[in-house]
Amino acid sequence: MPDEFLQATVDALGLGSMYALVALGIALVFGVMRLINFAYGDIIVGVAYAAYFARDLALIAVFVVMLLAGIGISLATERVAFRPLRKADPTSMLIASFAVSSVIQSSALATVGSAPRGVGAGDFLASAMSWGPVRVPYYTLFSIIVVVVAVIGLREFLTKTSSGIAMRAASEDFAAARLIGVKANKVIVLAFGISGAVASIVSLFLVAQTGGVAPASGTFPALLGFVAVVVGGMGSLMAAALGGLLIGVLQVVLQYVLPVDLLVFKDALLFGAVLLILVLVPQGLFVRSDPWNTRL
């Protein structure tokens, strides 16, 4: 029993840290633009496809390609789709991001087809270590490390650098920030860029776990990412990351606790739990006040 508990804890931390990363990527953009980027999952998928097309290159080159793809696709969506919509109301932006996601996904479907492609870039992470009775896959270990580094790094960036402080100012009050000289474009582009880089890392972990990519592979992780941001609390990066961790924990708990014939409904129960949290604590679990007026 304790062995199972330890294994479950390791799994939860691994999954949770990956969702925390996704949530961070989404929260970064949400912070400056109040936009939930439905296309985030498709950026992750785009990076994986880039890795697939670059599969004949040396591994290091593949990593570079992935990073560039993540940042590139993210910046492209900003420039083409979201910049013209900057002044639009939140409803339009939400639908627009849904449309962008459909564009990317359907384009992938139309060009490379729905058959999954094998991606080997993450294989070095796929093997596992054994710590006594517990199996720790390398990608779990790495994603935990990456999340910790990312959170610390972002914190430093946001508090110690002028760009970071500008981003925080913009996320608190965009109009006021512009009035005091913060360049809107620069801050938003920066947010999208960092968000894209995070997507690249998430993509690496995803292909490490699944070994391949298909047009719809990114949908589910991204969905859990949005849910993590909203459940954790919009407007705070730390809350988003904690939200991601919570989602990971919930998933693993359900996996272990559900009887076998109910396992197929695991995701329904997960989203049901999310719904419950949303209803009881609409402003988010890890924030103190309700700055976004989530109640009618």
């Binding site: 789709a81 639908i95 459909s102 359907s106 969905l223 409904f265 009618l296």
Partner: protein, 368 residues
């Protein structure tokens, strides 16, 4: 007094001096009037005739089904201003109810072993099935609406997304009852013009009636200025809930009609592609008006005829463009984006079509 054949005849009292006839014309106005659903019904019937003659009866039926769906979506999204990604979930509920009840009793029990006997053996006629689908959709919407009673804005939208996923997962996983991930054969192909046209007109009438009813008007007040409406005593959550119930019923109807068009049912029918289709139609037409919903459905359906070859391939002269599945959705999504950027209020600008007096007051009045 005028004279007629020498007899003094009192003139009928006139309301305006010189009783001039104002010219009536078709206009787009912010408020719907009684003429709005009439005009929209004319439009729908005209388009149905055009599709049937120009393309096929099936195309016309499909157009009408989507029209019902967009009207249903409008009742909630246009009324409350909350973007719902979950309404297709209500379609699923209605769709499965009607589909399962239409599978011939002889094979129903064996195909879906999880059904209780009374369900496996129930023989339900076509119209009763549709009614049950409406009821199921409305019931699901009522329950869900109660759950998200206090939510608004982004939290509500994410909640509706969660609902879509929950329905999808349950429909995919509960094999004994829903047939699981694959499509279930044996569903009656009963969607014909004779079925769908009345449904479309009823949906139109219901939406128009709700618009003009007290809760509908209160809803508009809440949408346009929530705090002001509440300060006047409007029970915001209550009217939003009512619109959710009505729209859920309409979506249930849509789902039922859809499965009877296709002849089978599957969770994949009621997922993101359908959500994009309906949302795009509503936004492109104009999210805030019933006219927008109807126009959007018609416009996108017309485009589908033009965009269809993208999926299947076409040639321009000697050049052959091979089609790729998925390309149609790309084009639709791009169009949606363009509309959102350039004309967020949609083709109708959120206005309703009305037959009303012309506004040209400068026209000379001396025409008797």
């Amino acid at each position: 007094m005028t004279t007629r054949e020498g007899v003094a005849v009192p003139e009928a009292p006139t309301r305006q001096p010189a009783a001039k006839r104002r010219r009536m014309s078709l206009r787009l106005l912010p408020e719907a009037r009684v003429t709005t659903p009439v005009m929209l019904a004319v439009l729908i019937i005209a388009l149905t005739v055009i599709w049937t003659l120009w393309v096929s009866e099936r195309a016309a039926v499909e157009y009408l089904i989507f029209t019902v769906g967009v009207i249903g979506l409008y009742v909630y999204v246009g009324g409350s201003g909350i973007v719902s990604f979950g309404h297709v979930g209500f379609m699923a509920v209605g769709g499965y109810v009607s589909a399962i009840l239409s599978i011939p009793v002889s094979i129903r029990g064996s195909q879906l072993s999880g059904l209780p006997n009374w369900l496996a053996e129930a023989e339900i006629g076509q119209w009763m099935r549709l009614l049950l689908a409406v009821g199921a959709g409305a019931l699901a919407a009522a329950l869900f609406g109660l759950i998200i009673w206090r939510l608004s804005g982004l939290a509500a939208s994410i909640a509706t997304l969660a609902f879509l996923l929950i329905v999808f997962v349950i429909a995919s996983g509960w094999e004994d009852v829903t047939g699981g991930r694959g499509s279930v054969p044996g569903v009656a192909r009963s969607a014909s013009l004779g079925t769908v046209v009345p449904c479309a007109l009823v949906a139109l009438a219901a939406a128009a009636w709700f618009q003009r009813s007290r809760p509908g008007r209160l809803l508009r007040a809440v949408r346009d200025d929530g705090p002001a409406a509440r300060s006047l005593g409007v029970a915001a959550e209550g009217v939003v809930w009512q619109s959710m119930v009505l729209s859920g019923g309409l979506m249930g109807l849509t789902g039922a009609l859809y499965v009877h068009l296709v002849g089978s049912v599957s969770p994949d029918f009621f997922y993101f592609a359908m959500t994009l289709d309906l949302l795009a139609m509503l936004v492109i037409g104009g999210m805030r008006s019933l006219t927008g919903a109807v126009v959007g459905a018609a416009a996108v359906r017309a485009l589908r005829e033009l965009l269809g070859p993208l999926d299947s391939g076409f040639d321009v002269g000697p050049v052959d463009f091979g089609g790729r599945p998925g390309l149609r959705l790309v084009a639709l999504a791009v169009l949606l984006l363009v509309v959102l950027v350039r004309r967020p209020a949609g083709l109708t600008g959120g206005l309703e079509i009305v037959v009303a007096p012309s506004s040209r007051s400068s026209r000379s009045e001396d025409q008797s």
